[in-house]
Amino acid sequence: MAAGAPRAILVLYMGAPYESDLLATLLRLVEAALDRGHRLVVWTCGGATTVTQRTLGPAKPRNPLAVAQRYPSTARLVKALVDKGAGRLRWYVCRQCLEERGAVEQMAEVTVKAPFHFLPCLDEADVCLSVGVK
């Protein structure tokens, strides 16, 4: 493939969303890749399946120290990226992991997948990056 050509990037995102800056880094990485014209699949496993719950709504609970300020929820941020990608970003959520965590109400912009669907995603990708736990 020619240098600079759009690539298919697979990101496996695992782990709890709030124990580090990882989610913010991931979202920045995805946005930068979209801006570069690449196609992405983000496959979430484990605690990462909770960031796209429909029940999170568009905004986080109000901050008592700044009640006038609203901050977007993780679901809202992912939706914005999926919208921006216009078909170039697919966000998959592992069914096994979300059911284990009771995160069964997922937002419409993501797709719930059985674990064995991960292998075809791996086959289709030009490059794979596993982020999160280990």
Binding site: S20, L22, T25
Partner: protein
């Protein structure tokens, strides 16, 4: 010779594995591979002058490039002047470009 993209997210104060990750980078260069180390999140603290002799030794090796995420550095009050010579300040666009480079082998820690 292969090209390894190593992404470190933790500081050596929060994980003893960081030292092992830097050692892995050094061993890869010993074996003749090229290494690009991208420091992001708390790992940017490694790039402060005097913070990590292991990182300084790694920078001095041939075939090694070290990047520090400018956003993470700014969020931790790390001014560019305090970063080790030889470390390149970069953003996510650079990480994406390195990630899709031909033949790259990325490892996230």
């Amino acid at each position: 010779m292969d090209l390894y993209l190593l992404v470190e997210t933790r500081s050596d104060r929060e994980s003893l594995e960081v030292a092992g990750f830097l050692e892995t980078a050094a061993r890869l260069t010993d074996d003749g591979h090229a290494v690009e180390l991208f420091l992001v999140q708390n790992a940017v603290l490694l790039a402060r002058r005097g913070a990590s002799p292991e990182l300084e030794a790694l920078i001095a090796r041939a075939g090694v490039r070290v990047f520090v995420d400018g956003f993470s550095a700014a969020a931790r009050g790390l001014p560019p002047a305090s970063v080790l010579p030889g470390v390149e300040t970069a953003g996510m666009d650079t990480l994406v470009d390195r990630l899709v480079a031909d033949g790259v082998k990325p490892i996230w820690h």
